[in-house]
Symmetry: C2
C-alpha cells in the first residue's frame, strides 16, 4: 500500500554501535519485537520527544535518564506503548532498564527505554526481561536492517537510510531507522527514530543539530493530525570515525553533519508518510509568499488536515474548491484573496479570487492521476515559505483504525 | 443513515412569512432546489455568516444588502455554492436579486441570496431567474416543510423545528429550518439556517439574541473540521404576533425569546450532526473543570476532530487511549495529568494519570454499543465548562466525499 516506496537500501554499520533483535511475543505474533541498541563508551546522545502532555512512561524515563548520564543502551519494544499506565507503567519500564543494566554492567540510568503499540495496557516487562540475555549475546554492528523491521507496528515496510559526509577530510557515516504510520502529527519528533553517526560531536551541539533537522522533517509531516504519546527521536555520535570533535556551530564540518542529518531526517519523515495508514497518495503542500513562516505552516497544515481535501485526493478528484476553502479558514488576518494563487503541480487552478480562466478539468485530473502530487499556495504577502508532507484519507484508513486497537 | 433522527415535526406558519419551492434543475436532478421566502414589510432581519476568508459571492452580497435596507426576500438555491467564482459569481448572484426585485417591486438590496452545493462552478442564474415568476405566485405561509426539503444537498433528511413562547402574555411562535451534512465546523454559523418568529424585536437586540444562540449551538458542532465558504444563519422577526416590540436586553419577554431561539438553534445544530455524512454515532463531548471556557473548547474540539477517536467510535471500540492522547495534545499549559478524569457515559475510564483501576472493557463496550454517546472530561483546574457535538468517521464518509464534488 505504501506510495512509491523505494526498496530499503543497505544500511551502513556505524562504528561504536551494535544491535540485536529478538522475539518476545509482546503481542500474539511470531515476529521480532524487541530491539537492543548498544552505544560504545564515550558516545554522546541527544533526543527530542513528544509534546503530548499524556506522554508515555518510557518517554518520561528517557528524559530523566538523558539528564543524568550518557546512555549505553536503547531498548525498544513494539506491540505495547506503555502509555496511560500510570505509576505501574513507570515501574515496568524501570524494571526493564534495571535488568539490562545488570547484564550490561552499567547504571539503570544508562538505559533509554522506548515503547510503541497499543495504549493503556500494562507492559509485559517479564517477556522483555526474558529475552535480554540472548539480546546482549547477539549484539552485532550489521543488524540495522533487522532493527528497522523489529520496531514496526502498523507499518507495512521498514524504513531506513545511510549517508556519508566529511569532517575535515575524514569520512563519517550516519544511519537512521524509523517507524510510524498512524497517530502521526509530530509536534517535536516522530513516533520513533533512531539515528547514529561515527562523527565526534559534543552533546550541546549535537542537540542543536538534531533540533534543526527535526524541525525540517519530522515536524513537517502529518498523516492524521494526531500527535502520539510516544514520539521520540534519538541521535548518537560515537566519535569512532577518527574525525576531530565538533563542539561549536561554526566548526568546519558542522555544516556537512547538519546537511547529512537533515537529509536523513527528511527521508525518514517522508518514508513515514509514504507508508501512512491506508495512503494511496503522497502529497507535498508548499506554501510561499507568506509574511511569516508560521502563517505558511498554518495554511499548509489546514490543507494537510482537511478530511475533505484528503478524501478528494483519494478519489483523484481535482477538487480545488476544498483547497480554497481550507486556505480561507486557516485564520490569516487581512488575507487578500485576489493576491492568492493555488497550483496543482505546475497547473494554476486559482488566481484573482476564483478559478483561473485558462484552467481546464483535464489539466487538473492529469496531475491528480499521479501518486506523488504537489499543492502549491502562493499567498502574495511576503517572502516566507514552509512545506509539509501528508497523504490521502482512504477506506483503508478507516478500516485499519476501526480494527486496530492503537 | 442519520443517527436516532426524529421524524420532522409539523412546522408552524409564522405570520408575515410566506414560502415557495420550485425545481430549477440546477443540477441534473428533478427535485425542488430553489426556495423563496418572503418577509412582510416591517419585519426586522439579522444574520451571522461564515468567517472563511474565501466566502462565497452570496455571503458577500448578504452582508452588503443587510447593511443597506430591511430584507423582503430570502432567495436560496441548492446544488451550486457560487463560491470561488470571482467577479462573475457576484454578477450572477446580483442578477438573481435584480430579477426578483423587479417582480416583487422592491430594491435589489432587499433580496438576500443564499447558495449551497458544489464550489467553483458558475451559478446558472438564468435557471433561477426562469422560475422566479412561478415562485412569487406560489408563495404561501404553510410551505416550511417543503422548504426544509428544497434546501438540502448531501443531507439525507430534512431538518426543522417550531416552538412557542410568551412575550408579556402574548403567544409568539418561532420556526427554523437548516441544511448541512459535510464541510461542517461552523466558525460563526452553520451551512444554512433560516429562522423566523412573529415576535416584534428591534434589529440590534435581535442580532444580539441570534449571536447568543449561535454560540451555544451552530458554533458547537463539527462533523469534519472543515468550515464552509457559505455558512449563513438568518433570523427574521415579523412582529405579527401582536406582542409588544422588544428593544432592550432587559425587556420582559426577551428571556423567553432567547430561550426559544437558543433551543431552536441547538436542535437544528444537533440535527445536522445526526445527519453528518456517513455518521453512525452522535457524540457529545463535554469538558468541565477548566480554568477558562476557551481551554474547555480546545480540549473538546481536539477530541471531536481526532480521526483516530472518530474511527474508534465507528468501530464501537472503547479505545480510551486515543481520547487520552487527544486531551494530552490539546495544548493546555501546566496540565496536571493526575487531576484529570475521563468518562464514557457514566463509566470512569481514566483517573490518576492512567486507566481507572475498577474499569473493565465490558463497561466501556456497553457504552460504546449505543448510538448516542457522551464523552466527559474533567480537567480539575477550574469551574468553566463547554460542550460540542460531533459524529464518527465511517467508510461512508470517505465514500461520500470521494464521490461527491462539493
Amino acid at each position: 500500500m505504501a506510495v512509491n516506496f523505494p526498496p530499503l537500501a543497505p544500511l551502513l554499520p556505524i562504528a561504536g554501535v551494535r544491535l540485536a533483535t529478538l522475539a518476545a511475543h509482546i503481542k500474539a505474533w511470531e515476529r521480532e519485537d524487541v530491539t537492543l541498541i548498544e552505544l560504545a563508551p564515550g558516545a554522546t546522545c541527544v533526543g527530542v520527544f513528544t509534546r503530548n502532555a499524556f506522554c508515555a512512561a518510557p518517554v518520561t524515563l528517557c528524559r530523566q535518564h538523558l539528564a543524568q548520564t550518557a546512555p549505553r543502551y536503547w531498548l525498544i519494544n513494539a506491540g505495547n506503548a506503555n502509555a496511560g499506565t500510570g505509576a505501574a507503567g513507570m515501574q515496568d519500564a524501570l524494571a526493564c532498564c534495571t535488568s539490562l543494566a545488570s547484564l550490561g554492567d552499567c547504571a539503570p540510568q544508562s538505559v533509554l527505554p522506548f515503547s510503541t503499540g497499543v495504549i493503556g495496557q500494562r507492559l509485559p516487562a517479564h517477556k522483555i526481561q526474558a529475552v535480554l540475555p540472548a539480546a546482549v549475546a547477539a549484539l552485532a554492528a550489521d543488524h540495522w536492517t533487522q532493527a528497522a523491521h523489529a520496531i514496526m507496528t502498523t507499518d507495512t515496510v521498514p524504513k531506513g537510510i545511510s549517508l556519508s559526509f566529511e569532517v575535515e577530510g575524514q569520512h563519517c557515516h550516519i544511519t537512521g531507522i524509523t517507524k510510524g504510520a498512524g497517530m502521526i502529527r509530530p509536534d517535536m519528533a516522530t513516533m520513533l527514530a533512531f539515528i547514529a553517526t561515527d562523527a565526534a560531536v559534543a552533546a550541546p551541539l549535537l542537540q542543536h543539530c538534531l533540533e534543526q533537522a527535526v524541525n525540517q522533517s519530522f515536524n513537517r509531516i502529518s498523516i492524521d493530525s494526531d500527535t502520539s504519546t510516544n514520539d521520540a527521536c534519538v541521535l548518537a555520535a560515537t566519535g569512532r570515525s577518527g574525525a576531530p570533535l565538533l563542539t561549536e556551530e561554526n566548526s568546519p564540518g558542522v555544516a556537512a553533519l547538519q546537511q547529512a542529518l537533515t537529509q536523513v531526517c527528511v527521508t525518514l519523515a517522508q518514508l513515514i508518510v509514504r507508508d501512512g495508514e491506508g495512503a494511496t497518495k503522497f502529497i507535498t503542500v508548499a506554501v510561499e509568499g507568506g509574511a511569516t513562516q508560521q502563517e505558511c505552516l498554518e495554511v499548509a497544515y489546514t490543507i494537510a488536515h482537511s478530511p475533505l481535501v484528503k478524501t478528494a485526493f483519494f478519489a483523484s478528484d481535482a477538487n480545488w474548491g476544498r483547497i480554497l476553502a481550507a486556505v480561507g479558514r486557516a485564520g490569516l488576518v487581512d488575507l487578500d484573496l485576489n493576491a492568492i494563487a493555488i497550483y496543482l503541480g505546475e497547473v494554476c487552478i486559482v488566481r484573482d479570487g476564483g478559478v483561473a480562466p485558462d484552467y481546464t478539468e483535464a489539466q487538473g485530473q492529469a496531475v491528480m492521476a499521479a501518486s506523488d502530487i504537489q499543492v502549491r499556495v502562493v499567498l502574495g504577502r511576503g517572502d516566507q515559505q514552509a512545506q509539509v508532507w501528508t497523504c490521502d484519507f482512504s477506506y483503508d484508513y478507516v478500516r485499519i483504525n476501526a480494527e486496530y486497537r492503537s
